[in-house]
């Protein structure tokens, strides 16, 4: 039995591949027709081939707190998620606009603070943010850019509207899986790439390298760029090693680097000390430099902040950039775009209630059973309350937390995340919820990945897409239909 898209269709949810009429959407038509032409056993074979490819390619992610082997194979669904090129171009413009405005905002906060003085955003909101770093005040990174690499999470609601759910401006991860997913797809379903115009994704490593190289404080032809990792026990170590390898740069740990008396950064090589120009750091701010932040950090490099402030090394992302991905700041992004760019946001925000505001907090506390409550500074889906699915006790506990530290919480309506057909364990195809994380680069120029990492909640009904909590991923196709519907 092969797939019948008419019986698959579930009304009431927005499906990325299948329209309300039960017909494949134009950009997904070739894909859906092809899938329907495969028998169950052929489909199973492709799925097995993908799992084998992932094993042999060594695509893994690391899970904390497991003894022995910490690497797990990356869960992957062979049915790609498809977005039509024209819709994508609008999203791409929206993402560039957003990151541009956020960088103006960060640069302003560590500079003159016009936006606070003009009263657009309450000063105490920034000064109370645990991601605001007074150590960064007065520093002027190249191009006024602080967040060079951003991963923004997009979701689509039942009516088809795409929202930005959050921006990750510190050390966003996942891009290596986006690249590897495409490699796996090309091995498993090569015939689909022959007849469709699917935008390639694999120029990301060279764009990333160009972005980083442009930040070099020395005017040299071959700036020394390195990737700084916390080490093999970090959950994203695979990605750190992968990106270093793809860019052809050294993967370093803190102990490989030192800051000398000249306030320059060097790495220890067998040929002696070599000057480092640009550090793509995948370590959190607070572990970067034990002289300035956590004094007992073994991951960082003593004196790194000194070298950065002196302009002798570029850090990407710059320390302090995280001040703009606080979920309370998130609520102000439309105003931020208006303030710096004099434009309206192209991609809307999810409506957000700030618990620090008395009226909004009252509304949140009265409607906890319908809202999603998130802490302002956590990522990875930890420490949040999904109101409709929570028990009375959990809601009570969150109400207390909110009352105690209102600044730390925001609330949003529960969105009905869009779904896409997913091959599940019993070999059938069922709709599963998903989101999308595109990656945006900004230095002299801006780039957006063609698509991004689609994360899918493999458990039925689940909205949690994180790989550490039962999520998987799909290849993401931006398909040019040539304008014809």
């Amino acid at each position: 039995m092969s797939i019948d898209w008419k019986t698959y269709h579930r009304p009431g949810l927005f499906d990325e591949l299948i329209g309300d009429d039960g017909q494949p959407r134009p950009a997904a038509r070739a894909l859906c027709d092809h899938l329907a032409s495969l028998s169950d056993s052929e489909l199973r074979e492709r799925k097995d081939a993908s799992e084998l490819a992932i094993l042999t390619m060594g695509i893994t992610f690391t899970v904390y707190g497991e003894g022995g082997d910490v690497d797990r194979a990356w869960p992957f669904d062979i049915i790609p998620r498809v977005i039509e090129l024209r819709e994508w171009q609008r999203i791409e413009a929206g993402l560039k606009q957003r990151l541009q405005a956020l960088n103006c905002f960060i640069d302003d906060l560590y500079g003159e603070q016009h936006i606070l003085r003009d009263g657009v955003i309450p000063s105490e909101l920034i000064l109370e943010s645990k991601n605001f770093r007074p150590e960064c005040v007065g520093v002027r990174p190249s191009f006024g850019v602080w967040a060079h690499i951003c991963g923004s999470d997009l979701v689509r609601d039942a009516d088809g509207t795409v929202y930005v759910l959050e921006d990750n401006l510190r050390v966003p991860s996942g891009v290596s899986y986006m690249l590897e997913n495409r490699q796996v797809m090309k091995r498993v379903l090569p015939e689909l790439f022959e007849n469709a115009t699917i935008l390639p994704v694999d120029d990301y490593p060279s764009q990333l390298f160009d972005t980083l190289a442009a930040l070099s404080p020395r005017p040299v032809d071959y700036p020394e760029v390195v990737v700084l990792t916390p080490g093999i026990y970090n959950s994203a170590y695979f990605e750190h090693a992968y990106l270093a390898q793809q860019m052809g740069v050294e993967l370093v740990e803190g102990r490989d680097l030192l800051v000398d008396d000249d306030d320059c950064v060097y790495m220890r090589t067998v040929a002696g000390l070599e000057r480092v120009d640009v550090i793509y750091r995948r370590i959190d701010d607070l572990f970067l430099d034990p002289e300035v932040f956590h004094p007992d950090s073994m991951l960082g490099v003593p004196g790194l902040m000194r070298a950065w402030r002196a302009g002798n090394v570029a850090l990407a992302n710059a320390p302090g950039a995280g001040v703009a991905d606080d979920k309370v700041v998130y609520a102000y992004v439309p105003q931020i775009i208006r303030y710096y760019l004099d434009q309206e946001a192209i991609i809307p925000n999810v409506p957000t209630y700030l618990c620090m505001d008395d009226a909004q907090r009252a509304h949140v506390l009265a409607n906890l059973d319908q809202l999603v409550v998130k802490p302002a500074n956590e990522s990875g889906g930890y420490g949040m309350l999904v109101g409709p699915h929570a028990s009375e006790m959990e809601r009570k506990r969150f109400a207390e937390l909110i009352e105690k530290q209102p600044r730390n919480y925001i609330a949003q309506p529960t969105l009905s995340l869009s779904v896409a057909p997913t091959l599940i364990d019993d070999g059938t195809i069922a709709p599963r919820h998903l989101d999308l994380r595109p990656f945006i680069l900004q230095a002299e120029q801006s780039h957006v990945t063609a698509g991004g990492l689609t994360r899918v909640a493999l458990r039925e009904g689940s909205l949690v897409v994180n790989s550490s909590q039962g999520g998987g991923s799909k290849d993401t196709w931006i398909v040019d239909t040539g304008g014809a519907d």
């Binding site: 060594g58 080490g231 093999i232 090693a241 270093a244 390898q245 050294e250 993967l251 370093v252 740990e253 102990r255 490989d256 790495m267 220890r268 090589t269 067998v270 040929a271 002696g272 000390l273």
Partner: protein, 310 residues
């Protein structure tokens, strides 16, 4: 190349070599046991002395019987020279440099470690020991071949070669030292029982028996065994050959000026040894090998100092 990466590769090669050497030593000793009459027991305790681990051993094992010594040298995770520890350390060192060495190298070490850990208890029992140890030796040699055949012979590769050859020379010197203590005559007319087969086992401990026969075409005698394992340039486990390899690596490394005279001095020490004399004076031989081992450990310290720490 990053110093940390070079150090990891160096140690990975040392530990793989150590696992191979220990496995061979256990295998040969077990065989020798079968050839000797019950009245001439080989001393299992001497294997513990061989890796200078008497203190660690005595603190945890009541007696130096066969089962205890085999367990200590093969399976004991608290003994850094045991086969299992050495493979675990090789794996940890390789894990962090997976992006530098060929992917198959990681798979090889990972698989070998997991297999040894799984089959160890069963494998070191008398009836399966031979096959098990043979597999360990083959697994280690496979990695060496894999690196030689698939890794660019760049600086990283030369650090692996350096580590392997230093470890190898160290092991050969230890075997010569310990075994000759019992075998060399204290006086000219004193004959050690079963001398011939015991010297053969010394050669076999470093896989040298066949090559020795081809080289000398005479019966196995202490003086010639010593000469072969100390001064031969062709046999890969002879100390002179190992040092020649280390010297060749140094030629290809940056900033090696300070190391070269040290290697040269060690080579001279070996080349100028009066083997005939040493073979008749066990105490002199012991002092000579002590000096050699001290020189090699100083060389290791110097390598660490120059390339790995700064």
């Amino acid at each position: 190349m990053l110093s940390r990466v070079a150090e990891n590769i160096y140690w990975m090669a040392r530990y793989i070599e150590r696992a191979e050497n220990t496995a061979r030593l256990l295998s040969v000793s077990s065989h020798l046991l079968l050839d000797l009459p019950r009245t001439t027991p080989i001393s299992w305790a001497s294997l513990v002395s061989l890796i200078s681990a008497e203190e660690a051993f005595n603190s945890r094992y009541p007696s130096a019987d066969e089962a205890s010594v085999i367990h200590f040298l093969a399976a004991d995770r608290d003994n850094p020279s045991s086969i299992l520890s050495a493979l675990a350390m090789a794996r940890e060192n390789l894990r962090t440099v997976r992006d530098v060495v060929p992917r198959e190298a990681w798979e090889q070490v990972n698989t070998l470690f997991l297999e040894v850990r799984r089959e160890l208890v069963h494998g070191i029992g008398r009836s399966h020991r031979h096959d098990f140890l043979k597999r360990v030796i083959a697994g280690c040699q496979q990695l060496t071949g894999l690196l030689a055949g698939t890794m660019s012979h760049d600086i990283g590769y030369h650090f692996a070669r350096t580590g392997r050859n230093l470890e190898r020379a160290d092991m050969t010197s230890r075997i010569l030292d310990i075994r000759s203590q019992n075998l060399l005559p204290r006086s000219a007319d004193e004959l050690t029982p079963f001398e011939n087969i015991q010297w053969m086992s010394v050669l076999k401990s470093v896989s040298a028996y066949q090559m020795y026969r081809q080289h000398f075409r005479i019966r196995v005698r202490g003086t010639e065994v010593l000469r072969f394992l100390l001064q031969d340039f062709q046999f890969p486990r002879a100390i002179a050959h190992c040092l020649e390899e280390v010297a060749g690596c140094a030629e290809r490394m940056p900033r090696s000026e300070a190391v070269k005279p040290h290697i040269r001095a060690l080579q001279l020490q070996v080349a100028e040894a009066d083997v005939a004399e040493l073979a008749n004076a066990p105490d002199d031989l012991h002092r000579f090998i002590d000096g050699l081992q001290l020189g090699m450990s100083q060389l290791h310290a110097q390598i660490t100092e120059i390339w790995f720490r700064q």
